[in-house]
């Protein structure tokens, strides 16, 4: 009896020890992640002013200047990428959840889509370089938007399919029973029921691409000047951060931190919005 109790004490101690390690791991992990965010705010807020929004990036070694061209470029590229990728993603997701729910092809597409979802984004950049930049002979915002669209598609496909599968089949059957053709059932019943979830997917995709750097490096390249010409290289926040952070100029480094703060704030806002919308959609 006493021996058993001693043994049990040992097991208890082991358990406490390992669980202590779990506490420690969580403490370290969460602390590091918050230190990163705090550093970001601390270093980024310094140069944050309205000038950042109204002035273009300064030349090397100069003081002053802002990030206007990079911010505008990022907005344009993100918007175009989303605008190209979203319809394709929604339509493909629609096929998988509605017309081809049990088709063999749907399983294959789902599998491939899941792989594309986590595939290295730099490879997408190389791909678009091969099919757009090289044939066109120059870097352009079009190519940048295309590489972002390739990243948007898998995210939207996934969420659209999942959300449409959540719509109860009774709704579809009721609509079909009053004589609605399938396409109208999908567009007016299924889409409406799954709307919040589908918008969540698009928001997540926007959040993902607004911070993407690697695919833009050799598609949209970068631009020191303000430009809205889609057929020319275009500046973007991530590309500017990459260039400025590795430079020896202090002002450039400060602006890189400010850009990083702006991107993080945008991404976190979008993600929170998406979560909020997603959870409110489930409730209703």
């Amino acid at each position: 009896m006493a021996k058993d109790l001693r043994k049990y004490g040992g097991r208890r101690r082991t358990s406490t020890f390992v669980l202590g390690l779990c506490w420690l791991a969580s403490g370290i992990g969460i602390a590091v992640l918050f230190i990163i965010l705090l550093t970001l705010v601390y270093r980024g807020v310094g140069s944050l002013s309205t000038l950042v929004l109204t002035q273009d990036v300064p030349p090397p070694g100069a003081t002053g200047g802002g990030l206007r061209n990079a911010i505008v470029g990022s907005l344009i590229l993100t918007f175009l990428g989303t605008a190209i990728g979203t319809p394709i993603g929604i339509l493909a997701g629609t096929y998988m959840a509605e017309y081809g729910r049990h088709a063999r092809m749907t399983h294959v597409v789902r599998f491939i889509n899941d792989i594309l979802l986590s595939a290295p984004s730099i490879v997408m950049g190389l791909f678009v370089y091969g099919i757009m930049v090289r044939p066109m002979g120059h870097f352009s915002a079009y190519a940048g938007a295309a590489s972002l669209a390739v990243l948007v598609i898998p995210i939207v496909v996934r969420t659209t399919e999942n959300m449409l599968l959540l719509v109860p089949d009774q709704l579809r059957e009721a609509a079909s029973a009053i004589g609605m053709p399938r396409s109208l059932v999908i567009r007016h019943v299924a889409y409406k029921a799954a709307m919040a979830g589908m918008i969540t997917g698009v928001l997540l995709a926007v959040a993902r691409i607004s911070g993407e750097t690697a695919p833009l490096l050799f598609t949209a390249l970068n631009n020191q000047f303000f430009s809205t010409d889609l057929n020319a290289p275009m500046s973007s926040l991530p590309a500017v951060i990459f260039q400025f952070a590795l430079s020896p100029y202090e002002r450039w480094q400060d602006l890189a931190w400010t850009g990083a703060l702006l991107i993080t704030a945008a991404v976190l806002t979008l993600s929170i919005l998406a979560r909020w919308l997603g959870s409110s959609g489930v409730k209703s």
């Binding site: 992640l33 990163i36 889509n113 595939a119 290295p120 730099i122 490879v123 979560r275």
Partner: protein, 343 residues
């Protein structure tokens, strides 16, 4: 009722008959037309959605074809030697992928070695230990951090973490292991701050939220009944985790870890800032190195000459194939999990 002549009455009746008949005829015809139009719209919509789904497959195929075509020149020139040559010389145009391939595998391996235990620790903390009030906020915070762009981790690594490593961690490592036979070669050389070890650690920090979030989701699939039975026969919390939770979720955990590995292998910006971009294989983890994605990001726009560009695209193809295999395995494992959970 007033008198209506027989002939007129018949005439009116015929007229009414004809009108009714015609009306149903027109209605039937127009309904047929509408149905036909709707049917056509249906077929068109169906075709468009199907084409989009096929489009996803085409994108994957096009990526492969484009990369293979782009890298053809490099493989023709160097053949199999491309994989084993360490030299990467833009001047003599002699390129080999050994250093970036090894760098990619080593950094990802070390990153997983660190991130997996800590990530599992966080997942266990969230599912078993955390006070219920904090569970949701911490869980959401970790999920949000998983979405922070990797360039943020990169810039933090360059300005904050690398100096910290140079000042404190690396000298301590050199001091501690400098005289230990095998380990001394792992921690040799001057503390640059940047290098393979720093890149691996940044990578670990970056995949940490991802692995924590996915492991937590997997842990939550364990039926409460199973855990309670184990507690009921006197298991301690750790014994429940080790003998019930982890065996029950092993397939899903492995899938999640592989997904994390897939991310780490292809990660570009977090690594590029802090790895040092040196095409030299060194036994020391403190020395600068390179990875496939860092090489491409650093050199692609400056690559002059077709062979140089082609060699970089060849690196991209190798990276894509490696990650494709890892991610495919991860998905197969997770699919097996879904199937067993569904039955």
């Amino acid at each position: 009722m007033s008198y209506v002549p027989e002939t007129d009455r018949r005439r009116v009746e015929t007229l009414v008959d004809m009108t009714i008949h015609d009306a149903t005829g027109i209605a039937a015809r127009s309904r047929a037309r509408v149905l036909k139009r709707l049917g056509r719209g249906d077929a068109v919509f169906r075709a468009i959605t199907k084409a989009s789904a096929i489009g996803v497959l085409i994108v994957l195929g096009a990526i492969f074809v484009s990369l293979i075509m782009g890298s053809a020149l490099a493989f023709q020139t160097f053949g199999f030697d491309f994989f084993v040559t360490e030299s990467w010389n833009p001047v003599t145009e002699n390129f080999g992928a050994r250093a970036p391939i090894v760098g990619t595998l080593v950094t990802s391996f070390i990153a997983m070695l660190i991130a997996v235990p800590i990530g599992l620790g966080i997942a266990i903390f969230l599912t078993e230990l955390c006070p219920p009030i904090l569970r949701r906020p911490i869980g959401i915070a970790i999920e949000l951090l998983a979405g922070v762009p990797s360039i943020i981790y990169g810039i933090w690594g360059l300005f904050v973490f690398a100096p910290f490593m140079q000042e404190y961690v690396q000298p301590a490592l050199i001091g501690a292991f400098g005289n230990v036979p095998v380990l001394s070669s792992l921690f040799a050389g001057p503390p640059y701050g940047i290098g393979v070890l720093t890149a691996s650690l940044i990578l670990a920090i970056m995949v940490l939220p991802f692995i924590s979030a996915i492991s937590r989701d997997v842990f939550e699939t364990v039926p409460v009944l199973l855990k309670e039975s184990a507690f009921g026969i006197g298991c301690t919390t750790w014994e429940v985790i080790r003998s019930v939770v982890i065996p029950y979720t092993s397939v899903g955990l492995l899938g999640g870890v592989m997904l994390g590995l897939g991310r780490a292998l292809g990660e570009t910006m977090a690594v590029t800032f802090v790895i040092g971009n040196a095409h030299r294989l060194s036994t020391s983890l403190l020395a600068p190195g390179t990875t496939i994605s860092a090489t491409i990001a650093n050199e692609f726009t400056e690559a002059t000459g077709d062979l140089y560009t082609s060699s970089l695209i060849a690196l991209g193809l190798i990276l894509f194939i490696i990650t494709f295999i890892v991610l495919a395995l991860a998905r197969l494992l997770l699919m097996r999990l879904e199937k067993s959970a569904g039955s």
